[in-house]
């Protein structure tokens, strides 16, 4: 399939994915609301340019990564739950697993314990059939991605992502260290707030 055909198919599908994202957002909120502390729940359909960019990705050996991107790209709809404390992340994950079927549950963190970078809990969940748009001619994906993060993890992730996208040249080593340092600060802030939350919550 050529890139332009793929782009056309996805562009036609995009409004349905937007509608689906909204339904997923509401569904997640309804199952979590009143049971656990959440700052916000959001969901979005992957934009057409980002989808095309991802669909054309290649492996390190130069081969194409996705031979059927419309089926294989699992974050065509992505949702995010932001919460206050690290302890909330596990509680939210527990509720998510009760109401959604999953095929992946990952605690994303840097490979080495001496490195700092992206932190967050990721799920690949089945899109519940009752939320899918009913148009038969549109092939709706089977899965969506869910990220659960603290406010600090979210803030770091957003700024880092933005910076990486807007910078055409690779970052200098010291700049990379500064970004890792800011991740360490966010990590430290999460540890402090989580400890204090547990201390005062258990005392009350």
């Amino acid at each position: 399939m050529t890139t332009s055909t793929l782009e056309d198919i996805y562009r036609n599908k995009y409004p349905y994915l937007q509608e689906l994202a909204l339904k997923i957002q509401t569904d997640l909120f309804n199952y979590l609301n009143g049971k656990v502390r959440i700052d916000r729940v959001s969901a979005r359909a992957k934009s057409v340019p980002r989808f095309v960019e991802k669909a054309n990705k290649k492996n390190k050996n130069g081969s194409i990564k996705y031979d059927n991107p419309l089926n294989q790209i699992q974050d065509q709809v992505g949702a995010r739950i932001i919460t206050y404390y690290l302890a909330d992340v596990d509680e939210i994950a527990c509720i998510v697993k009760k109401y959604y079927s999953f095929i992946e549950e990952l605690d994303k963190r840097p490979d080495s314990i001496t490195e700092f970078g992206y932190f967050g809990k990721h799920f690949i969940l089945l899109i519940p059939d009752e939320l899918k748009p009913k148009q038969e001619e549109v092939e709706i994906p089977t899965f969506f991605e869910l990220q659960i993060k603290t406010l600090f993890q979210h803030a770091w992730g957003e700024a880092e992502h933005d910076l990486n996208y807007k910078t055409e040249e690779p970052l200098a080593d010291d700049d990379k260290r500064m970004i890792a340092y800011s991740s360490a600060q966010a990590w430290g802030a999460d540890q402090i707030f989580n400890t204090l939350y547990k201390k005062y919550n258990s005392e009350s």
């Binding site: 079927s101 992946e104 990952l106 089945l126 519940p128 059939d129």
Partner: protein, 340 residues
């Protein structure tokens, strides 16, 4: 639906065997012109309706990995006796002599643009044959008759568009042997396919309970109200049982009127979907039962104990009821509003 090829195996019951050798698993391509091929083709074509339990593979250690799914993908790529025999070996290692030997067929074909792989297991049964002659009938018992309409018949199919993560299964024993002999219900979906229901028991039950709650709030029919109120006490009888939104009402001996009114509040596309009832989840969603009277009174109690706490007697004038209870007051409070 177009069928490419069918391969059949004898799957011996070898749960107690120390090791299963390659020679224990015998497989063969099925001749495309045979009666058996025609019969299996019909099963393949009807599977969209017959395989009514949506399942999904369980990921191992949170990663997108499952050994049975890997084999299904491999079977899709290289449909051969060698590729299929790996799954037959696994099935034989889980099959005891009580479950008996079986015939296992792998069918590869297409459904629309999708590649479709189906596995069907016919159990060995005992049958009787007759040989009538002019003056008498001879009866004979034969072992190893393989029947599709046996309760022990199992099947599942997978589609490429769902990356072979989702399956659709038949397992008429899914509600059998709960408790002590749970392996009967777990044999096909949980143990062999390493799968679970596609819709979680909590989600399925929450959808059902919310529809029941909404119906109770909106229906004008007293009979429907009465039936739905009994659910708070009878739901425990079907805890952990596999039902569909449709079949639940027959299971609970509820009327078609009640069924139809509740089903109106559930998405049509999932009404036949099967899931396991979770009593606790039902109670979470239908925790308190509230009767609102036209004189301003609000009568409330935990749903499952409502009829024990409140004695409700009919006063034969203007459809009025008298509610009475006896208890020790522990608290009085004002509320700004009551949600009706």
């Amino acid at each position: 639906m177009e069928i490419e090829k069918i391969i059949g195996f004898i799957s011996p019951a070898m749960k107690d065997a120390e090791k299963i050798e390659d020679k224990d698993i015998v497989g063969e391509d099925i001749n495309q012109n045979s009666k058996l091929f025609k019969m299996l083709s019909d099963i393949f074509n009807r599977s969209t309706n017959e395989c009514d339990i949506p399942i999904k593979f369980v990921p191992i250690k949170g990663k997108q990995e499952n050994p049975i799914r890997d084999e299904i993908i491999n079977i899709d790529k290289t449909f051969s006796v060698t590729a299929c025999s790996i799954l037959v070996k696994i099935l034989s290692s889980l099959t005891d002599h009580k479950t008996k030997d079986g015939l296992v067929f792998f069918i590869k074909g297409n459904q629309g643009k999708n590649s479709k792989i189906m596995i069907a297991r016919f159990p060995a049964e005992t049958g009787i044959t007759i040989n009538p002659t002019a003056d008498k009938v001879n009866f004979d018992v034969i072992d190893d008759v393989f029947l599709k309409n046996s309760r022990k018949y199992k099947a599942a199919y997978y589609l490429s568009k769902e990356q072979f993560w989702i399956g659709y299964a038949i397992d008429k024993q899914v509600n059998e042997g709960r408790g002590k002999v749970k392996e009967i219900s777990d044999y096909w979906i949980k143990q062999f396919l390493q799968s679970e229901m596609k819709i979680t028991s909590q989600r399925g039950t929450a959808i059902l309970a919310k529809a029941v709650r909404a119906t109770l709030e909106t229906t004008e029919e007293q009979d429907i109200k009465n039936e739905l109120v009994t659910l708070s006490t009878t739901i425990k009888n079907v805890n952990n049982k596999t039902v569909s939104f449709e079949s639940f009402f027959a299971e609970m001996n509820l009327s078609d009127e009640t069924k139809n009114e509740v089903l109106q509040k559930i998405d049509k596309g999932i009404q036949k979907t099967k899931f396991k009832i979770d009593e606790e989840e039902f109670r979470t969603n239908c925790n308190y039962l509230v009767d609102i009277l036209d004189n301003g009174a609000i009568v409330i109690a935990p749903a499952k104990e409502f009829n024990d706490i409140w004695l409700k007697s009919y006063v034969a004038e203007d459809d009025e009821y008298k509610y009475s209870t006896t208890g020790k007051p522990i608290k009085s409070k004002y509320q700004t509003r009551v949600v009706r």
